[in-house]
C-alpha cells in the first residue's frame, strides 16, 4: 500500500519544473496532506496508531502532535542529507533518524505529561514504524528541497492529526457521551461500550472511509 503514495508528489515536482510558481506549489503541497492525499483516508498509512489511540480526543491529539514533531524533524534531517544517501542504506538511515527523534519525543512526554505518556504506552515508540513518516522521507524529503519538505511535513502531519481527532471525537461521543471529557449529550444517553473497544475503532474507520469514497465520487461527477 505504501508504494502508491509516491506518484502524486512526483508529478507535482514535475509541474513545478514546467513553470508553475513556487508559492502555489507550496500551497498545493500543504493542502495535499489535508485532503487530496490525506495519509489515513486516501493513502491508508499509519493505521496502527489511528486505530489504537482514538478512544478519546486527548490522547489522539497528543499522538497527532508527537507525529507532527517527529515528521517535521525527520523530514528536515533527511532533506538536508539527501545528497549523501546511498540507495541501499537509505531505509536504514531513515529509520535511525526517526528512532532518534521518537526517543526525544518519548522522553519529553514522560517528563512533562507523565499521565498521558502512560495512557499512550508503547504507541509513542511505535511512531518509529509509522508508515507515514518513512513514506514522506522516501517520497518527498529525499527528493525535494528543505522548504518543500518542511511544508509537506506540516501538511501531512496536520492531515493526520485532524483525521485522528475526527475519529476520536466520534468514538468518544458514542462511548461516553463526552468530548474532551466534557459531557455534551443529555443524561438519558446510553453509552455504547463497544465504541471504546477495538471493534468500534475498526468499524468507525471502515464507515468513515466509505463516506469519504461517496463524497469523492459525488465531487468527481459534478
Amino acid at each position: 500500500m505504501a508504494n502508491n503514495a509516491q506518484t502524486p508528489l512526483e508529478t507535482q515536482g514535475k509541474k513545478s519544473l514546467t513553470g508553475q510558481t513556487t508559492t502555489s506549489l507550496y500551497k498545493q503541497t500543504l493542502l495535499a496532506g489535508l485532503w487530496r492525499e490525506n495519509p489515513v483516508f486516501r493513502l491508508l498509512l499509519g493505521m496502527c496508531p489511528t486505530l489504537a489511540v482514538t478512544a478519546a480526543v486527548k490522547p489522539a491529539l497528543t499522538m497527532g502532535l508527537s507525529v507532527i514533531f517527529v515528521l517535521l524533524c525527520s523530514n528536515i534531517v533527511v532533506s538536508l542529507m539527501r545528497k549523501l544517501l546511498k540507495p541501499h542504506l537509505r531505509i536504514l538511515m531513515f529509520t535511525l533518524t526517526i528512532a532518534t527523534f521518537v526517543t526525544i519525543a518519548d522522553l519529553f512526554l514522560k517528563a512533562f505529561v507523565p499521565r498521558m505518556s502512560e495512557t499512550l504506552g508503547p504507541y509513542v515508540p511505535l511512531i518509529i514504524v509509522n508508515c507515514i513518516i518513512i513514506c514522506r522521507a522516501e517520497a518527498c524529503a529525499s527528493k525535494n528541497t528543505l522548504v518543500v519538505s518542511i511544508i509537506d511535513a506540516l501538511g501531512m502531519g496536520a492531515g493526520f492529526t485532524l483525521t485522528l481527532c475526527v475519529l476520536a471525537g466520534i468514538r468518544e461521543i458514542l462511548s461516553t457521551g463526552a468530548v474532551w471529557e466534557v459531557n455534551i449529550l443529555p443524561a438519558g444517553f446510553v453509552p455504547w461500550a463497544a465504541m471504546s473497544m477495538p471493534v468500534g475503532a475498526f468499524i468507525t474507520l471502515g464507515l468513515l472511509l466509505g463516506l469519504v469514497n461517496v463524497t469523492t465520487k459525488r465531487n468527481a461527477k459534478t
Binding site: M1, A2, P125, C131, P198, F202, I203, G206, L207, L209
Partner: protein, 196 residues
C-alpha cells in the same frame, strides 16, 4: 511443571486472547495489504513469525545483558529497530539465495516487514510486561508470530469469499475489509478473560 504451565499459558494468551492484531492494533498495514490471497498471507505470516522470534529474543538479550541499568537505556528504541532491520535483511538474503521463487513473489513486502509494527510492538511489550526469563521471551515472540499468521490467514480466507459477495460500491476495498476486521475482533473478544 510450573514453568511449563506458565509458558503454555503465555503462548495461548498471546496467540488467542491478547492477539496483537485484534487487541493491540499492531501489524494492521500488512494485515490489510497482503491479505488478498491465502497463500501470500501464509507466506507473509511465516516470514513475520521468523523475524519476530529472532528479534524478540535478540532484543531481550540486548536489553538485559547490555542496556538495563546503564545510561544507555535511552538508546533502546534505536537498538531495537537496528536489530529488526538486521533480522529482516538476513531473511531477505536467505530467501533470495535458497527460495528465489518465494522471494520474487513477496517483492516490496519483504523489506516492509521492518516497518511492521507487530515486531517492534512485541519487543516493546516484552519490555513493558517486565518479562525476566529468556525462555518466556522466546515463547512469547514465537506465539506473537503464530497469532499474526492466524489472523492474516483468517482474514485472507474471508476476503477470498468477499470477492464474490455483493458489497455496496462505496464500501468496496479497504472500508469493507476494515468492517470485516471489526467483526472478527468482536468474535475474538469472546476469549477475553479466559486466562487470568
Amino acid at each position: 511443571m510450573d514453568t511449563l504451565n506458565i509458558l503454555l499459558m503465555g503462548f495461548i494468551s498471546i496467540v488467542i486472547i491478547n492477539n496483537l492484531v485484534f487487541t493491540k492494533f499492531l501489524g494492521i498495514c500488512p494485515y490489510l495489504g497482503v491479505s488478498g490471497r491465502i497463500d501470500m498471507a501464509f507466506g507473509m505470516g511465516l516470514a513475520v513469525t521468523f523475524v519476530v522470534t529472532l528479534s524478540g529474543t535478540l532484543t531481550w538479550l540486548i536489553d538485559h545483558l547490555i542496556l538495563l541499568g546503564t545510561p544507555l537505556e535511552v538508546t533502546r528504541y534505536v537498538c531495537f529497530i537496528l536489530v529488526i532491520a538486521g533480522a529482516v535483511q538476513l531473511v531477505e538474503m536467505y530467501l533470495r539465495k535458497f527460495f528465489p521463487v518465494l522471494y520474487e513473489s513477496f517483492g516490496i513486502f519483504l523489506p516492509l516487514i521492518t516497518t511492521n509494527c507487530a515486531i517492534l510492538g512485541l519487543c516493546l511489550f516484552i519490555n513493558l510486561w517486565g518479562i525476566d526469563n529468556l525462555l518466556e521471551a522466546v515463547v512469547l515472540s514465537f506465539g506473537a508470530g503464530i497469532g499474526f499468521t492466524m489472523a492474516i490467514c483468517i482474514m485472507a480466507g474471508i476476503r477470498e469469499n468477499l470477492n464474490l459477495a455483493d458489497v455496496p460500491q462505496c464500501l468496496k476495498g479497504a472500508p469493507i475489509t476494515l468492517i470485516t476486521a471489526g467483526l472478527l475482533t468482536l468474535a475474538f473478544m469472546g476469549f477475553a478473560g479466559m486466562i487470568r
